[in-house]
């Protein structure tokens, strides 16, 4: 398995670097740049769809990265930047969907399934084993038994 380590490490570095490598205009302040990149990781690229704008090389992603940086240097808060994006592209642009009426099942579904499953398991475990019923044999059973015993004695 060790032979996998190098490619995996390599991939991790490459993926982390992302398409952000193509950006020339980074923010001067490293704290602001870190904040910008933190926000970018939460914004979905609308062209490549399952990548964040950090990972995407698409022109639109580059433009959106530039906008995030501009707004951070203009002193906008994180919430204001997210709002800028969602008024244009909807909640869709957020990689982490917000909790609202459309996403209730998404957020609460797993918890509900866990509770239902737990309840079923609990019920099954707690169910007492069937008590030993020692009822007298019926007349036909008695006869049958007698027959067997006699047969064995032969």
């Amino acid at each position: 398995m060790k032979f996998l380590l190098i490619p995996v490490l390599f991939m991790t570095f490459v993926l982390n670097a992302g398409a952000i490598g193509v950006d020339k205009d980074r923010l001067q302040d490293p704290d602001q740049e870190a904040r910008a990149q933190h926000l970018m990781k939460q914004l979905r690229c609308l062209v490549c769809q399952n990548q964040s704008i950090v990972e995407s090389d698409a022109e639109l992603a580059q433009d959106l990265r530039a906008i995030v940086r501009e707004q951070i240097s203009a002193g906008e808060t994180d919430a204001e930047i997210f709002k800028f994006m969602t008024t244009r592209y909807g909640d869709w642009v957020l990689l982490k969907p917000p909790f609202n009426s459309a996403t209730v099942i998404l957020w609460l579904g797993p918890i509900a399934l866990l509770l239902i499953g737990g309840f079923l398991i609990f019920r099954t475990i707690r169910r007492k084993p069937e008590p030993d019923v020692t009822r007298p044999l019926t007349a036909t059973e008695e006869k049958h038994l007698e027959k067997i015993i006699k047969g064995n004695n032969k």
């Binding site: 639109l60 433009d63 592209y89 909807g90």
Partner: protein, 180 residues
């Protein structure tokens, strides 16, 4: 209990229905955030010369249904939808405007020269920032506007079949809406 025996069947039916709904959705089609919202504020230069090519004011036209189409000469699907735009541009009570997205004005001009210019007014969005304000993800994209409110967004090229099936009914509905 006979009902209990059928429980797995009910659960299965439920999952089946959920799958049928889920699989018929198109997750790659981005839902529009700007429907029933006012058009964004913008003002863009024209393809040639100085002044204003297209701005928000042009879209507030109370007389006509306004269509705004984002295009670029480098965009293949824009060529595909060009005949559909010609058709829409000729309709009565409809104004078709174009926004050239990240395109050199020289190239946009020769694109329109060779295919024909269906637009009433044209703005040039060199940096693509106005397109972002419109929630555009790529060209071509088309918006149908009435009284300055965006009513429909078409992502991708309008095929000629879709003009008849989708676009014209929307325009007719919007026109009737005002008449009643």
């Amino acid at each position: 209990m006979p009902l209990k025996r059928f429980l797995p069947l009910f659960v299965f039916a439920g999952i089946l229905i959920a799958f049928m709904i889920g699989l018929s959705l198109k997750p790659s089609e981005i839902p529009s955030a700007l429907i029933n919202k006012p058009v964004p504020d913008f003002s863009l230069p024209p393809l040639q010369g100085d002044g204003i090519g297209l701005s928000t004011e042009d879209l507030l036209d109370p007389e006509n249904i306004v269509i705004v189409n984002f295009f670029a000469s480098w965009c293949g699907p824009c060529r595909v939808e060009h005949p559909a735009l010609e058709l829409l541009g000729k309709l009565d009570g409809v104004k078709l405007h174009g926004i050239a997205y990240k395109d050199r004005p020289k190239n946009s001009l020769s694109f329109l020269k060779s295919l024909g210019n269906p637009y009433d007014k044209i703005g040039t969005d060199l940096k693509g920032r106005v397109a972002i304000d419109w929630g555009v993800t790529g060209t071509p994209e088309t918006f149908i506007i009435k009284n300055g409110i965006i009513r429909y967004q078409h992502i991708g090229p309008i095929h000629q079949m879709q003009v008849e099936d989708r676009i014209l009914p929307i325009i007719r509905n919007l026109q009737q809406e005002g008449a009643s």
